[in-house]
């Protein structure tokens, strides 16, 4: 069984249907899907249409007024979503994100956070996305909320060795292997450094890159199964069986 921990849903339904069909064809059984920020109706509709294949994640823009926390709670409690997705509107160290992390602990669901291993080497990117979280921001969030289940998105994009080492000491941080990065050795290092129970399969909608890494990584079969689905099932089940 394979669960995709990182699947973007678009406003266009046909694109989502095509993506899900391709996932099924290529061996991915379930996706953790989320719409654009604050477009959770897209996710709700897709979950309802594909209840056995789509696990909904709420997507919000963190704010100082509490709307995002309320929307997050409603998505989970009223609409059966099982996680939260954050993009790059606020850093993981922002108080607005801390409030969402606190709520995630109460709700018993994981938070998937867009992360880039920036290290200050791309000033043009820093200017464009000043609130994008770095792995060290994820570590800081994890330090403040040790009971939160934090998934650091696409760990293998950017300086992945830096990213892995930045969060190594935080047992509540999980590494999502999605994205364009397909460097040979990246998954092996993640497993070696943080352990196979803290790496999860994800595509970021790049199905073949992810499947190629999963099949190509020189890890034992037990670890491959943990990454494929067992780890995500464990995180998703804290709130109850799927």
């Amino acid at each position: 069984m394979i669960i995709d921990a990182h699947a973007h849903l678009m406003e266009d339904t046909n694109t989502n249907e095509h993506f899900l069909r391709e996932c099924k064809r290529l061996g991915i059984d379930m996706i953790c899907g989320f719409g654009p920020p604050d477009s959770n109706e897209v996710t709700r509709a897709f979950m309802e249409k594909h209840p056995k294949s789509v696990i909904g994640f709420c997507s919000v823009i963190p704010d100082d007024e509490g709307r995002a926390v309320d929307e997050f709670a409603s998505c989970v409690q009223d609409h059966g979503m099982r996680g939260l997705k954050l993009l790059l509107h606020r850093k993981a160290t922002d108080p607005a994100v801390f409030r969402l992390a606190e709520k995630s602990v109460q709700l018993g669901v994981p938070i998937l956070i867009h992360t880039f291993m920036r290290r200050g080497i791309m000033p043009e990117r820093d200017a464009r996305f000043p609130n994008e979280s770095d792995a060290t921001d994820i570590a800081e969030l994890a330090r403040n909320y040790p009971d939160a289940m934090i998934i650091m998105a696409h760990f293998s994009v950017g300086d992945w060795e830096y990213g892995i080492k930045a969060v190594k000491g935080f047992d509540n941080v999980y590494l999502d292997m999605s994205g364009t990065g397909v460097d040979l050795g990246s998954v092996e290092m993640a497993v070696k450094q943080v352990g196979g129970r803290r790496v999860v399969f994800g595509t970021d909608n790049l199905i073949l890159a992810a499947l190629g890494k999963l099949s190509g990584a020189m890890i034992d079969e037990e670890t491959r199964e943990l990454i494929s689905s067992a780890n995500m099932l464990r995180l998703l089940s804290r709130r109850g069986r799927l």
Binding site: H18, M117, V182, L184, N205, I207, L208, L211, G212
Partner: protein
């Protein structure tokens, strides 16, 4: 026969790369069924005098030449580059030339590049233009991409080089889908370039860039490449193996090896 058009050997300056010696690379190739690979020197990417990297590669390939085919890295703006090209092709029997304009910091519009492109054509070897080695987003702080680096400017210069050197055969290497399209749009009517598929922004399903690539330039101009051992080989293989509907047998044979065999004059 499967021929990988993008492979490397040697030490990389910025991270440990497994399988980077000849026997290791062969083990990796065997794992996924690749018969032959066009290989170039990773040292040459960062050496000031890239020719030393070519010489190391040639020495290390003794006994492996049946499956590992050497390509010469050339820095056109370094003194002696044309002589080095001549030596690599004539004396070291290297089958292709590879340019790294971003890492060696020159413009493809430079007159020295013109000399190398013409020199390669006269010697009957194709020229790969590698837009990058690693994803720019993970570059070492010490490496600056140089003034030559600007996606739009660079692809404009690639297109100009293709148009201005109709007798040179180019291979576009590690291009993104968007970068390929910029070159494609600017080189209408030119068929003197091929494109390899290892790029991490040249996706398979659900984007299906490989099929779109075939529709645009034809299967005779698409090359299979994995970028081993820097990248896992499996994602590139999956781009071909998971196509739905599957490639026609003839198209698949061309892309997976036939085009490279012709281009590099390899024995089958």
């Amino acid at each position: 026969m499967i021929v990988d058009y993008v492979a490397s050997l040697g030490h990389f300056a910025f991270r440990r790369v497994p399988f980077s010696d000849p026997s290791g690379l062969l083990r990796l190739m065997d794992r996924v069924g690749i018969d032959k690979a066009l290989v170039s020197s990773l040292e040459a990417v960062m050496f000031r005098n890239v020719q030393s990297g070519n010489e190391i590669l040639s020495e290390n390939l003794k006994g492996y030449r049946q499956r590992l085919i050497p390509a010469a890295v050339v820095n056109p703006v370094y003194p002696g580059s044309l002589e080095d090209l001549e030596y690599c092709v004539s004396s070291l029997d290297m089958k292709a030339v590879k340019l790294y304009p971003t890492h060696h910091d020159y413009s493809l519009a430079d007159k020295d590049v013109h000399r190398i492109l013409e020199g390669a054509s006269e010697r009957g070897v194709p020229v790969s233009i590698a837009l990058r080695v690693e994803d720019e987003r993970q570059r070492h702080p010490l490496t600056k991409l140089g003034e030559a680096w600007s996606g739009v400017l660079l692809t404009d210069h690639v297109a100009e080089a293709i148009k201005n050197h109709p007798n040179t055969t180019f291979a576009l290497e590690r291009f993104s889908w968007a970068e390929f399209n910029r070159v494609f749009d600017a080189t209408q009517g030119c068929d003197n370039y091929l494109v390899e598929i290892s790029g991490r922004f040249m996706h398979g399903s659900p984007h299906d860039h490989v099929r779109q690539l075939i529709e645009k330039i034809g299967a005779t101009r698409v090359l299979f490449g994995t970028d081993i051992p820097l990248q896992y080989p499996e994602p590139a293989l999956l781009k071909i193996e998971t196509m739905e509907p599957p490639l026609a047998r003839e198209e698949r044979a061309l892309i997976m090896g036939g085009n490279a065999v012709s281009l590099l004059h390899l024995s089958k």
